[in-house]
């Protein structure tokens, strides 16, 4: 009995750590989809960029872990602004097929660039000593890095949720998600709002990518690797909701982890089962508007 409980605690813990990476990566996509209605399949490319920049900052420039992580996040956020202005602004009002084609193209190009710059072999980062230790919680030892990931994920959630619900900017974004024409009529500059949200979403994707490097390694395939999972989280959670994305990431992360532990042959089956069930019952997602 005690053994089964221990196994269950481990599955839950690892599942939550996995969920937090998914949440950080997906939340930006959820908000930009809700706000602009653009299907941005290049979201994974921004996550990958975060990963590679972190490798450069930590490995080649020798920065400490935390400043390197923050710097990579900010750099990708800043770099996404000209990309949004040059490329994405052209596809906001175009059909979904055009959006998919353009953003898949951007992803393929990003993979080529990453292969050219960093090579196709997997890269890794060296974690600082304080993250390589085990953390004792509730009488059990947990890997420090995963505890750190959970902490970062929770902070990001609380920060975003608070910002969305309690600030003027959040109110404007929520207004624009609900009804863009009406928001514009009341004087909200939605164009600038889009750029700002896009940069925030890209920066969060980069943070997620950087956090994932030490969990799953980093290769140019990263741009596609997480894409399906992130899209699943976004569709289950509903577009443009922080709470929905958080709940969906938790559900997917924990159930996927438990499913693969208990029934390895089932593999990704459980995730898709959840997607089908949720979308049948609530086509707009758990917290979305149908």
């Amino acid at each position: 009995m005690g053994h089964a409980v221990q196994a269950a605690v481990s599955i839950l813990f690892d599942g939550i750590a996995y969920s937090m990476v998914l949440f950080v990566m997906a939340v930006g996509l959820s908000v930009t989809m809700g706000l602009m209605g653009v299907i941005n399949l290049a979201h994974g490319a921004f996550a990958m960029a975060g990963g590679y920049l972190t490798v450069t900052f930590l490995g080649d420039l020798g920065l400490p872990f935390l400043p390197g992580l923050v710097l990579a996040t900010l750099a990708v956020g800043a770099a996404s602004v000209p990309i949004e202005r040059a490329l994405y602004v052209r596809i906001y009002r175009r059909p979904h097929l055009d959006q998919v084609l353009l953003t898949i193209g951007v992803t393929l190009m990003s993979i080529a660039v990453a292969t050219y710059a960093y090579g196709p072999s997997p890269l890794s980062i060296k974690l600082p000593a304080f993250l390589e230790t085990q953390v004792g919680l509730f009488g059990r030892d947990f890997p420090g890095y995963r505890v750190f990931i959970i902490a970062v994920g929770l902070l990001a959630f609380l920060g975003l949720w608070g910002g969305f619900e309690r600030t003027m900017l959040g109110a404007k974004i929520r207004a624009a998600v609900d009804n863009r024409a009406m928001a514009e009529a009341t004087g909200v500059n939605t164009t600038r709002l889009f750029t700002l949200t896009f940069a925030l979403g890209s920066a969060l994707a980069a943070l997620g990518g950087a956090l994932a490097v030490d969990l799953v390694g980093l290769t140019p395939r990263f741009a596609f690797q997480y894409l399906v999972l992130v899209l699943v989280v976004v569709s289950i959670g509903g577009f443009g909701t922080i709470m929905g994305t958080f709940a969906a990431a938790l559900i997917i992360g924990v159930i996927d982890n438990a499913g693969r532990y208990l029934f390895p042959e089932g593999s990704a089956f459980f995730i898709y089962l959840i997607v089908i069930l949720v979308l049948i019952c609530r086509p707009g997602g758990l917290f979305g508007r149908a």
């Binding site: 053994h3 196994a7 072999s121 982890n257």
Partner: protein
């Protein structure tokens, strides 16, 4: 106009003379055209590049042995692993480029899809990788110089039970055709030796996020003596090492075994200290101590620098070129597929991976399988060879099991 019409006569005459000399000299010295089909773009681009580099290096160092003949490589990119592109390229190279033989085929589907045409066209095809065990059975003109998945895995079963004290074991594999092949081979070899296989875990498909955490957790909870793991090289192994460290599987008393793919030399440094003590069975590691390997490594470093380490794929490319050279030398530049296959059946080579030869019965390679332990070497990781299983024939075809069961 008059001036113009006379001015082109001289070059034309020169051209005719030049053409005449080429024809004349061809009587003594032939250029053998070799079609090279490898995925130079896509997920295995680095592997293909390493294999081609080895082929070119072998050519450069051994060109003088060709006795006046020459070899021209015609390279084609087989891109994705579906087999469709490789099949089209095989046709093109034979029909349009009129190649004398084919070399390459990275992914098993590439070779499987091309085999019927290779038979039809009567062209020698040397497999640089394509490790599904039954492939040489698909055409009498296919000769494999790489390895077969059964050859690498099956002998590790008895070794694990007898020498490494694995009374109970679990096999874990990436869930696609080559992975299932490895799982079947390990089960067969290990259970025959008397071992108890507790579980066989499919660890997700090759396109999924490579998070091994739940699988390693399951292995840890089942407490076997050993686990034998196969993942396709590169991106998966770094993730595997991280999960192995975080889940503290070694600390729980489980010994890590795997195929040589897991400790591929070029990726080994990325695995980190978590991989120290891992034991894999494979057909080559750059840390092999033999004169042919020392010479190969020195030549490689001189040509390409020491930044990119060669690994088993590289040596497969090197030996494929050695096989091409053997055929060209034996047949004196006049390539006939039947005679070429006969020549390779009698071929023995002192390869960087040790002595190799082609099994006359199956056209598959016979080679040593090395038991490799990951150790700390200076700041980085290296391999210590702790055992050698000599002259292994492909057990799949020997036992006639699975895909290798005789079908007529």
């Amino acid at each position: 106009m008059r001036i113009g019409s006379t001015s082109w006569i001289a070059p034309l005459a020169l051209l005719a003379i030049a053409a005449g000399t080429t024809v004349a000299s061809r009587a003594e010295a032939d250029t053998v055209k070799v079609g090279v089909i490898l995925p130079f773009s896509g997920m295995a681009a680095d592997v293909a590049q390493s294999e081609l580099r080895a082929m070119k290096l072998y050519y450069k160092l051994h060109k003088a042995e060709l006795g006046g003949h020459d070899i021209a490589l015609i390279e084609r990119d087989s891109k994705e692993p579906s087999g469709a592109t490789a099949q089209t390229l095989t046709r093109e190279l034979v029909v349009q480029d009129k190649v004398d033989m084919l070399v390459g085929y990275q992914f098993s589907p590439d070779a499987i899809a091309s085999a019927p045409f290779i038979t039809q066209a009567k062209k020698l095809a040397i497999l640089v990788n394509a490790q599904s065990s039954h492939i040489p059975m698909l055409s009498p003109y296919i000769v494999r110089v790489s390895a077969s998945s059964w050859q690498i895995t099956y002998p590790m079963g008895p070794y694990a039970f007898d020498k490494l004290g694995c009374k109970t074991a679990i096999v874990g594999f990436t869930d696609f055709a080559p992975g299932r092949d490895v799982a079947a081979a390990f089960k067969a070899g290990y259970e025959k030796a008397g071992g108890k296989l507790v579980d066989s875990i499919a660890m997700g498909g090759p396109a999924q996020v490579p998070d091994f955490t739940p699988y390693l957790q399951r292995i840890k909870d089942e407490k076997p003596n050993c686990v034998y793991i196969f993942t396709p090289a590169a991106s998966f192994n770094a993730a595997l090492a991280r999960a192995w460290r975080d889940q503290k599987v070694a600390e729980a008393g489980v010994r890590f075994l795997g195929t040589g793919d897991v400790t591929q030399d070029s990726v080994l440094p990325q695995l980190g200290d978590a991989a120290i003590g891992w034991i894999t069975g494979g057909h080559y590691t750059a840390d092999l101590d033999n004169p042919a390997n020392k010479k190969f490594l020195a030549a490689w470093t001189k040509e390409y620098g020491d930044k990119v380490k060669p690994d088993f794929f590289t040596v497969q490319g090197w030996d494929a070129m050695a096989a091409v050279f053997h055929v060209v030398k034996t047949l004196k530049g006049k390539i006939d597929a039947d005679k070429a296959v006969a020549a390779l059946k009698a071929w023995k080579e002192d390869s960087p991976r040790g002595p190799i030869m082609i099994d006359a019965a199956t056209r598959d390679i016979i080679q040593n399988i090395y038991v490799q332990e990951v150790v700390k070497k200076g700041d980085s990781l290296g391999i210590k060879v702790i055992g050698t299983i000599p002259a292994v024939k492909d057990p799949c075809k020997e036992l006639g099991v699975g895909n290798c069961a005789a079908k007529k």
